[in-house]
């Protein structure tokens, strides 16, 4: 994707009268960092980028906005929010449309076909971060790291993020403006992480998750970053009934993680943000992907593709599988 074209389009949209702000990505303060950026005018959009480091799912910001009650006599701000999306982010937007978390006329979606993101942890490990700003670019068949004016070519497989290896929708499924031609979807690899756990006996799974969940510090980052966790009255904040106690111990951590994963069953669009932000490196993606796969294989449902679909847990089919019933 050409940077000039992106910035030109971004500036054009940010300058529109009916647009409140444009959400995109810009270079971070040092190293490989990339930060979300909000542009209210054309000038603000002049440093927008789209690179293999733009992992953040910006759809989160659509629902993070605090909507205070309007003072009497004041007109609501009806201007739109413009937003840059990758393939996975666009599915989050579609799922929000399905759940009426946002309305179509409130957003302008700028689609960025995505040839795959890098895994930031892997990148930092293999090509340690410098304080100097470093950049990443896509090449025909891999990534190019630009550091101190030096270019290093890296094969795609070496740094490609796990969620992108499994990606089936690299092109935005919903958009108003596309910034580039669609990329060719690649063959997703087999989900080794989930398979490994499935092959374990029940005891082995329990021990595995006990190990992982005992690291959880209950910071709720996974909930906060998730574009689809936007209940104003979250069960985790609620005191009566007290579903999950605040104490950090294995019992509560497990209950919290079960509740979080379950609330995303049939809704998770596998953008991998929860796993990326987790400070304890809990492989949350393995739970989410497992549930997504169950929903797909058993119920033939896939979230975030059709804005007119019925939400998974608020609908049923008379012939849903019931082999588990006594």
């Amino acid at each position: 994707m050409e940077l000039e074209k992106l910035r030109e389009t971004a500036a054009e949209i940010a300058a529109r009268d009916d647009v409140k702000y444009l959400i995109g990505w810009k270079k971070g303060s040092y190293g490989y960092r990339v930060a979300p950026a909000f542009a209210e005018d054309a000038e603000g959009a002049s440093d927008f980028i789209f690179s293999p480091l733009c992992t953040a799912n910006l759809a989160t910001y659509l629902t993070l906005v605090e909507k205070l009650p309007l003072p009497r006599g004041q007109e609501p701000d009806k201007r739109k929010v413009a937003l840059m999306v990758k393939g996975c982010d666009s599915r989050a937007v579609t799922q929000l449309l399905v759940e009426k978390g946002i309305h179509r006329e409130e957003v302008i979606i700028i689609g960025c076909p995505c040839p795959g993101m890098v895994d930031p942890d892997l990148l930092n490990k293999k090509y340690p971060e410098t304080e100097e700003t470093a950049e990443l670019k896509w090449d025909n068949d891999g990534f190019v790291i630009v550091r101190d004016g030096e270019e290093t070519k890296v094969p795609r497989e070496e740094l490609l993020d796990e969620k992108c290896q499994l990606c089936r929708y690299p092109n935005p499924v919903v958009s108003d403006i596309m910034l580039d031609d669609p990329v060719k979807a690649w063959e997703p690899v087999e989900d080794e992480g989930v398979k490994e756990i499935e092959e374990k006996a029940v005891e082995g799974r329990w021990d595995y998750w006990q190990q992982e969940f005992s690291n959880c510090i209950r910071c709720y980052s996974c909930r906060n970053v998730c574009p689809l966790c936007y209940c104003q009255d979250c069960i985790l904040d609620r005191q009566n009934p007290d579903w999950v106690y605040r104490s950090v111990n294995f019992s509560e951590n497990t209950a919290f993680n079960i509740a979080r994963a379950f609330h995303l069953a049939g809704r998770c669009i596998e953008c991998g943000e929860c796993e990326r932000v987790c400070p304890a490196n809990i492989p949350l993606g393995k739970i989410n992907r497992k549930l997504a796969r169950e929903v797909r294989d058993k119920y033939g449902f896939e979230p975030g593709l059709d804005p007119d679909a019925e939400p998974f847990q608020a609908s049923y089919k008379p012939d849903d599988p019931e082999d588990f019933i006594l």
Binding site: I197, E198, V202, E203, G204, R205, W206, D207, Y208, W209, Q210, I235, W243, Y245, F250, S251, E252, T254, A255, N257, I258, A259, A261, F262, A265, G266, I287, K290, L291, E294, V295, K298, Y299, F312, Q313, A314, Y316, K317, P318, D320, P321, E322, F324, I325, L326
Partner: protein, 143 residues
């Protein structure tokens, strides 16, 4: 497990079918294990899957959810929703490593006193055999 090493089962029964079915089992003098602690709900569709997680956390050795047969729901479609949600929950619990024998779901109509007996026997037996999950208990509760 209670003091005499008997499993404690929490059973969520729908008011219209399974509760009446269990009642019929009682009035017909059908003998079945007394490990069941019944919670009557108006419909299986009212059961939040977190009820199940919470019951296990609070020391239940097994959880049983029972409702009307598909198509017979008093509220037309409540049990269809329950089937979808609790089916997902069962998969999830199994994936996280909770013994799948700790959670069961069944359809028992108001005329199936004998089926109720079989369901309870199976649930109690499974809870007895299921692997220990002490770490998941919130606190020790004497039932």
């Amino acid at each position: 497990m209670s003091a005499n090493n008997e499993p404690n089962i929490v059973a969520f029964l729908c008011n219209w079918c399974s509760y009446a079915g269990a009642d019929l089992a009682g009035t017909s003098r059908v003998q079945y294990p007394s490990n069941i602690n019944v919670i009557r709900v108006m419909c299986t569709g009212r059961i939040n899957p977190l009820f199940v997680v919470n019951a296990l956390q609070q020391g239940a050795d097994g959880v049983l959810v029972s409702g009307c047969h598909p198509g017979d729901c008093h509220y037309m479609e409540g049990n269809y929703f329950a089937r979808r949600r609790l089916g997902m929950l069962k998969d999830l619990l199994e994936y996280v490593g909770v013994d799948p024998r700790r959670f069961h779901m069944s359809w028992v109509s108001a005329s199936e006193g004998h089926k109720w007996k079989e369901v309870v026997e199976k649930t109690v037996e499974d809870a007895r055999e299921a692997r220990s999950y002490e770490g998941f208990r919130r606190r020790q509760i004497d039932w």
